[in-house]
């Protein structure tokens, strides 16, 4: 009986190994199964999910106007101190003082892309965009001012 | 291979036994537990406001009560959380216990410790998971566990040389050396609001 067990051991072992080799052999001979994405080459056709959280931006319309009131809700919501808002007072044509943002400073290197600032914003002034190629040679380039120079707040946003 | 088969058999037996034992204390109520504890530690304080029954015992009572809870009929053999809370006036050790055969039975055992010289008996021999958790509490809160087999730092780096000197002079660790205590100030905490 010992001999029988011994032989069946060998046969079972070898057959289990052959099964595995059949599987890898199948993939070796079927090149259509290859799943490699040639990243920098396929940049033109690369499509990321619309919701992909890559970076915070502040959309501006054609008149160079944004909807940020400078309420600092995002600054408070941010867990890492990524956002810093510097406010100023604009003098409106009627001579009234009005609070507005001077600089919306966003530090991408500290951002964890948690989306809490977007949900906190009452006027939808900022949003996430699917940019992911963030590498730069100088760390200071990651500190961005989101409001474009000369931009101002859209009429009717309080 | 024989060893493995033995293990299998033992485990099977244990599983079967567990299912029998279940009935005996499935009906264990908070009142019954209280009675059980009061018999051993009359001055224990109970608190039922939370999800589970909390009780505060004296440091010297911890070991006997823990041993009693581990034995029949409670069989609280699963210590699923061991931690410490710094209440500024005192430290509180918190032991979350349950029975592996009846996971709906949960118990929170608390021990208040002196903040200046926190020392308590280890529960390592009862629940071996306590070994690592106690080492963590030791380095984070400075609680000394008496009779712990290997009370060293686990997560933080080894003691710096200066801390050792200070320890030698004053007899205890320098102030503010335990990161999870409330008076610990981290000079480079960038997210502190």
């Amino acid at each position: 009986m010992f001999l029988k067990d011994y032989i069946s051991d060998v046969v079972n072992g070898v057959s289990s190994l052959l099964k595995g080799m059949r599987k890898t052999g199948y993939y070796f001979t079927h090149s259509k199964e290859i799943i490699t994405e040639q990243y920098p080459d396929n940049r033109a056709t690369l499509k990321l999910a619309d919701r992909f959280k890559g970076e915070v931006v502040m959309p501006h319309d054609e008149n160079n106007e944004h909807t940020c009131t400078g309420c600092t809700a995002c600054e408070l919501a941010c867990p890492n101190g990524t956002i810093k808002i510097i406010t100023k007072f604009d003098i409106s044509p009627e001579g009234k003082k009005k609070k507005a943002i001077d600089a919306f400073i966003y530090r991408l290197e500290m951002c964890t892309l948690c989306n809490l600032c977007i949900t906190a914003c009452p006027s939808d002034a900022i949003k996430m965009v699917p940019n992911f190629e963030h590498s730069v040679f100088d760390r200071s380039k990651l500190t961005k001012i989101l409001n474009k120079p000369g931009s101002k707040i859209k009429e009717g946003i309080e | 291979m024989i060893k493995l088969e033995q293990h299998l058999k033992n485990n099977h037996n244990r599983l079967l036994n567990n299912s029998v034992d279940n009935d005996t204390f499935l009906t264990m109520t908070n009142e019954a537990i209280k009675e059980f504890i009061t018999a051993r530690a009359p001055e224990a304080i109970y608190d039922e406001s939370g999800e589970w029954l909390n009780m505060i015992v004296e440091p010297h009572q911890l070991k006997p009560i823990a041993a009693a809870l581990l034995g029949q009929p409670m069989q609280m053999d699963f210590l699923f959380c061991l931690t410490c809370v710094d209440y500024k006036t005192h430290l509180t050790m918190v032991y979350h216990l349950t029975a592996s055969t009846n996971r709906s039975l949960n118990l929170v055992l608390k021990v208040n410790l002196d903040r200046a010289n926190p020392i308590i008996e280890t529960v390592c021999e009862l629940w071996r998971t306590a070994e690592f958790h106690e080492r963590e509490v030791f380095e984070m809160f400075g609680v000394q566990f008496a009779n712990h087999p290997d009370l060293r730092r686990l997560i933080l780096e080894d003691e710096p040389a200066t801390a050792g000197d200070e320890k030698k002079e004053s007899g205890h660790e320098p102030k503010g050396y335990w990161p999870l205590r409330k008076d610990f100030e981290d000079p480079i905490n960038m997210i502190k609001l």
Binding site: - | G50, E51, F80, V94, H96, R128, F132
Partner: protein, 378 residues
């Protein structure tokens, strides 16, 4: 040319005779991160293993003390980064419990589906990494092919692939993607076809079986005493599935089996995880067509404040029982927060079960414990 003193310069620190102390890690291919094991060997046989932790310790518990109840959830994604959804769910559930927030049905069901997808993704990665520990490189790529489908689903719906931060107190951050259901169904189909590959390549393989069977045996008593949870404990015959013991979200209305093996060795731990993936598929199949319509987030106050008291929430992550313990003083931030991570307890058992085995067995044992180092260090 040869001079003994030239080679061994320091003869004071050699240790007892017959012992060889090897530092495995923090940079070692099999520790999958920065785990540092000081292994004492006698030839090839292990005499003692001493884990040194903390290479990726970020003191998340202390950090959370200065974060509000909305903010601290994102940090927990960084603990066990392979089951970040489940960690987030634990925190959200705890805040909901503390404030009695009503969670809409839709959010509950979606959370359950996402949690199960996360579990499958985690186990897929584990199978690949485990096979790699044992020297088989190829299954890693096959496992990642399926995992990629899950991360794509996550990317569509949650906007991130690993650290989603999609679950907020009260429900979800935003609604699911319109393609969510079709994509999940496509994934289920592909998974069912391809799961046989692991059978051929890994499970049935004689070398794999002889490497794992009877290796790193953890008895039921030890599993309980060491506080092991998750697949590690279930392979030793301990019933510890939090989805059964204290059902949360939609787990109370789905049918699934708690996989129990009794051998307690590395192969049993492997089998438990493979079968668990199939159970997760079963849960998803039951829910995916029955996502109720309605709100995705319940009504919450702007500023969350937990009542004074203590709260504890347990969930089943891919690695075991994650416990979140919060002591609240009624402020907007937790007074003390403790994460009872499954990996921490599972790691503590390593010395006990790997002692006396060979170095090769250590890889099998460590692989099947499924250690994620940020989860252990926190």
């Amino acid at each position: 040319m040869y001079n003994e003193t030239e080679i061994i310069k320091d003869t004071t620190n050699l240790g007892p005779e017959g012992e060889l102390v090897v530092n495995m890690g923090p940079q070692h291919p099999a520790t999958h991160g920065v785990l540092h094991l000081v292994v004492t060997l006698n030839g090839e046989t292990i005499k003692k293993i001493e884990p040194h932790l903390g290479y990726i310790h970020r003191s998340i518990e202390k950090m959370c003390e200065s974060l509000t109840y909305r903010q601290f959830i994102y940090v927990t994604s960084r603990m066990d980064y392979l089951s970040s959804h489940i960690n987030n769910t634990a925190c959200a559930l705890l805040v909901e419990k503390g404030m009695q927030i009503e969670v809409p049905e839709r959010a509950k069901v979606v959370r359950t589906i996402l949690n199960e997808l996360t579990r499958i993704a985690s186990h897929e990665l584990w199978i690949g990494a485990m096979a790699m520990d044992l020297g088989a490189f190829t299954p890693f790529f096959y496992a990642f092919r399926e995992r990629e489908m899950i991360t794509d689903i996550m990317e569509d719906t949650c906007g991130a692939r690993l650290t989603m931060n999609y679950i907020v107190p009260g429900g979800l951050m935003y609604d699911i993607h319109p393609d969510f259901q079709t994509k999940v169904k496509a994934f289920i189909q592909q998974f069912k076809e391809k799961v046989t590959e692991y059978e051929d390549l890994v499970t049935g393989n004689i070398i794999f079986q002889s490497r794992t069977k009877g290796v790193g045996v953890l008895t039921t008593e030890d599993a309980i005493s060491y506080g092991c949870t998750g697949p590690v404990a279930r392979a030793s015959g301990v019933r510890c599935d939090m989805r059964k013991i204290a059902p949360y979200d939609a787990y109370d209305r789905v049918e699934f089996e708690e996989i129990i093996e009794t051998a307690g060795d590395s192969f049993a731990r492997y089998i438990v995880r493979v079968k668990e993936m199939n159970q997760s598929i079963r849960i998803i199949e039951q829910l995916i067509d029955n996502i109720p319509e309605g709100e995705f987030v319940g009504k919450t106050k702007n500023v969350l404040k937990l009542a004074k008291g203590e709260f504890y929430q347990r969930v089943e992550t891919a690695r075991g029982e994650l416990g979140v313990y919060i002591v609240s003083e009624g402020a907007t931030t937790p007074y003390r927060i403790k994460f009872r991570s499954p990996g921490f307890s599972n790691l503590s058992v390593l010395n006990h079960i790997a002692k006396g085995s060979k170095i090769g067995d250590l890889m099998a044992t460590m692989g099947t414990l499924d250690l994620v180092i940020p989860d252990i260090d926190r």
